[in-house]
Point group: C2
Chain length 138, copies 2
């Protein structure tokens, strides 16, 4: 382990993704991730312009989300026409988690199935254009 | 914590980002993240078509990278003209980590400085178009 990552404050992780949300919908995304994936909001900042930055957790992992801001080179999947990073969500029961995400408003990309590479996994795209693979190693 | 994320196999995390790399350069990206951030390669799959999927770790966090594949809706920042997810890298010494990343080939977006919101943090874009904020809470 390199010297510069030997000490991380409690509750933080070495690497944490930060998802960009279109159209001032960061608050909607926070609600969606709560309903779809059981995420918990750890912190939330509401800026004077109405934009939102929030830190969420799922299980022992954290992620951030924020409203799009072109001056800050923060682009949403809706604006760019695709996403440049997928999120892998590991769960005990991929079928149940997949169904819950779709019920909350995600769209199925690939249904959950047992893949040759040893995972039970499926994929959804959320209403904000971010792709989530939902599964577990078998 | 929701029922479906109560049990995660050893070495896995609830949520793990998966970065898409342009132009068949996943192998170059793996080399870059090793030099720039001290990443360790946990696993690597070389497909018959020459494409690469690899799992890396930095500190106690993991992430994946893979070559772009339009049929799989996997788009690189170079192809889309921006990135839809940033990565937050927490480190003991943000100045040293930032300088190391730039020496390895990243470009400075914002130099490291102490921000009003209580972080010492800067930002680079790597040669593959992914943005990394490098810092620590103060």
């Amino acid at each position: 382990m390199p010297k510069e990552v030997k000490s991380i404050p409690d509750g933080y992780h070495s690497v944490t993704p930060y998802l960009i949300i279109d159209g001032g919908r960061a608050n909607d995304a926070l609600d969606f991730y709560t309903r779809a994936f059981g995420a918990t909001t750890l912190s939330r900042i509401d800026a004077p312009d109405g934009s939102v930055v929030a830190q969420l957790s799922i299980g022992q992992s954290n992620f951030w989300l924020a409203d799009e801001s072109a001056p800050h080179q923060s682009f949403s999947p809706q604006t760019l026409g695709g996403s440049t990073t997928r999120m892998i969500l590991i769960t005990d029961d991929p079928h149940a988690a997949f169904d819950r995400a779709v019920a909350a408003g995600a769209s199925s990309v690939c249904p959950v199935r047992d893949e040759d590479y040893g995972w039970r996994i499926g994929r959804v795209v959320d209403p904000f254009g971010h792709h989530w693979e939902i599964g577990k190693p078998l």
